[in-house]
Amino acid sequence: MWDYTDKVMDLFYNPHNMGKILPNECREEETVAVGEVGSIVCGDALRLHLKIDKRTDEILDARFQTFGCASAIASSSALTDLVRGITVDEALQITNRNIADYLEGLPQEKMHCSVMGKEALEAAIANYKGIPIRPEEEDDSPLVCTCFAVSRGKIVRLIRENHLTSAEQVTNYIKAGGGCGSCLMEIDDLLAQVDGNKKTETPRKTELTASATFPSLHPLTNLQKISLIQQVIEEEVRPILALDGGDVELYEVDGNRVQVVLKGACDSCPSVTTTLRLTIEDKLRDRLQPDRIASDLVVEAISNPIKH
């Protein structure tokens, strides 16, 4: 039996935001965008409805319909929780890992459920914007896995985004390779290719991310780590929060535990806290890659320590 977290089981038994949004539920300045992925053949499918304010691009409501296992249903529900109340562009920043983290983890073999959520979100936003989100993948990306209709571009992106290192992981994340298995060799080749690129890319990345990034092969000193985290928060997190009257401050770095204090409008809102925590975590992970502290980094949002 799968080792599901209590959160997965809770959202499976009591899902939030199920159903559709009908056009007649919208005011004039609002519209419904729909994203559909999967099929009955694959064994899971998700239809996501977003109600969007056309003036502000804010996602006012999100509902889902899912055919699939417990983790597919829980992932869909998690997705709707994550996107409500943020803008379309912010929603595009959500990764499948955010969905998995919101569920307090998914069994490795079920990661593809979180990927399906991410894909439905992109499909809905593409539907809203009227343009494909990932044109490069739709154009000339040949199918690698015909059993599950997965393209080369998609596999490469997933390997990158989730730092995958084995074909088994690729199968867990997008099913590719889980059918007849004849594409497994090609997946291995793609893994090697991405890995090779990553190695040659590293110096370039250092350049791009300016002063606070350090050569990745040596572990960061604590001071280097703290100043890097500080930089990410200053440059990438605070500006976003400022728009909503919120703010964040680095409080403590203890090994891989990063504690931040949420302030202003963010202070008391639990859902914002989770989203924010995940966003910071992700941004930090991206920047710290491929340093080894990145993979098990945790961000904790603590309430204002001065109050205690």
Binding site: M1, W2, D3, Y4, M9, F12, Y13, P15, M18, V34, E36, I40, V41, G43, D44, A45, L46, R47, Q65, T66, F67, G68, C69, A70, A72, I73, E109, N127, G130, F148, T171, K175, G178, G179
Partner: protein, 416 residues
């Protein structure tokens, strides 16, 4: 998911093709041989001799269940071992024949062994089944050649409960003088078997499917059929399987076989025939009819009548099997599914796929398998909660009675 211990007693166990409750009588019979009587049955002292007598008794009981002679029974550790031993023995005794015939719906114990043998240079014919899971006997006849060493066909299928016409298959096989192996793991104890009037050369039994403990089993080898041990060792099992006997397991298996036979034979019942084969069948039929009539868009997978009395496999369209199982689990109801998600692989059951069932049915297929320990109260309880579970999941599903709607809407969205 962790289930608190206190919930265990209220379990409604409908997964008896996966494994069964060990009969209390079998537990009682084995206990002294776990503690006081630990002697080795091969030893030359009364202490060991006592154990040896008990094993003899168990062998006679298993033989009786199968309609065989005690000397035709070899104790094994499980069904998979029996299948492996039988197939390898059959091949080893005819080294010049390199062709095997089996079916697409066998248990992995047979299928994966055959795949391995293909790598070793054997050719294997995997016979197809029709929508109802039945073989075409003309196809079988046509597949046999002078090079065919063995035909391996299961008696009853673990997923659908379908029964193959073993004796008609055997006649065709024997016309050509070919060895015939039958995986009887799901059949033994559920339907009468009589090796005395049979064409079967090897028959495999697994203890944990008939209320004996896991890790026990038996292999019937017809007298006169050449056999080579799979597990080479001492002279145990008359040199046919090395290794000191799993004494308590064998004694429990013997007891379970004795009980199974009593429950099979309804006429001369000393037994509370209350819990006979007919009893199990009537519960299964009540369950099956109840589900098929109270829930729309579902269908029986398998053959209506050529089937084990304890098994029903139903496909519920537009919902996914794992979601059904976990919903049932909340009510303490244990079942299993052929859906991809539950198997740990990404493909649904090879048995249901071989039957050519549509994916909408495959992913939502549920197997319910009963035993004589089930009660009609349990069945009524299942009938009460099952429709609600399917309703809830269908409400969540983007698919409904008409799949075309999904496709229609999808193209609409794309063209916006």
């Amino acid at each position: 998911m962790s289930v608190p211990k206190s919930e265990t007693p209220s379990v409604i166990y409908l997964d008896n093709n996966a494994t069964t409750q060990v009969a209390e009588e079998a537990v009682e019979a084995m206990l002294p041989y776990l503690s006081q009587y630990y002697g080795n049955p091969s030893s030359m002292h009364t202490f060991g001799g006592r154990v040896s007598r008990k094993i003899k008794e168990a062998r006679a009981n298993i033989a009786a269940l199968l309609g065989a002679e005690p000397t035709e029974i070899i104790f094994t550790s499980c069904g998979s071992e029996g299948d492996n031993a039988a197939i390898q023995a059959a091949l080893a005794s005819q080294p010049d024949k390199r062709h095997i015939v089996t079916t697409q719906v066998e248990h992995p114990a047979v299928l994966n062994l055959c795949k391995r043998l293909e790598k070793d240079g054997y050719t294997v014919t995997y016979l197809a089944v029709n929508r109802k899971g039945q073989l075409n006997l003309n196809e079988l006849r046509a597949s046999l050649t002078d090079n065919t060493a063995l035909v391996s066909v299961m008696c009853a299928n673990n997923e659908t409960g379908n029964i193959f016409p073993i004796e008609r298959i055997g006649e065709i096989v024997k016309e050509r003088g070919i060895l015939f192996h039958v995986d009887g793991v799901q059949a033994a104890g559920k339907i009468p078997l009589n090796m005395k009037e049979s064409t079967v050369d090897f028959l495999v039994v697994s203890g944990h499917k008939l209320h004996a403990p896991k890790g026990t089993g038996a292999l019937y080898v017809r007298k006169g059929v050449r056999f080579r041990p799979f597990l080479v060792g001492g002279h145990q099992e008359r040199g046919r399987r090395g290794g000191t006997e799993n004494v308590p397991g064998i004694i429990a298996l013997g007891k379970a076989a004795e009980l199974a036979l009593e429950h099979l034979e309804e006429e001369n019942t000393r037994v509370r025939a209350l819990r006979s084969l007919t009893y199990v069948r009537s519960l299964r039929d009540r369950l099956e009819q109840g589900l098929l009539t109270s829930i729309p868009h579902c269908q029986l997978n398998g053959h209506q009548s050529w089937r084990l009395p304890n098994t029903t496999n139903i496909g519920f369209k537009y919902v996914e099997g794992e979601a059904i199982l976990l919903s049932l689990d909340r009510y303490g109801i244990c079942a299993s599914s052929g859906s991809a998600c539950t198997s740990g692989s990404l493909e649904p059951s090879h048995v249901l796929r071989a039957m050519g069932l549509p994916y909408s049915v495959l992913h939502g297929s549920i197997r319910l398998s009963l035993s004589r320990y089930n009660t009609s109260e349990e069945i009524e309880r299942v009938l009460e909660v099952f429709p609600k579970i399917i309703d809830r999941l269908r409400e969540l599903s983007p698919f409904n009675s008409d799949e075309a709607e999904w496709l229609k809407e999808q193209s609409l969205v794309n063209s916006q």
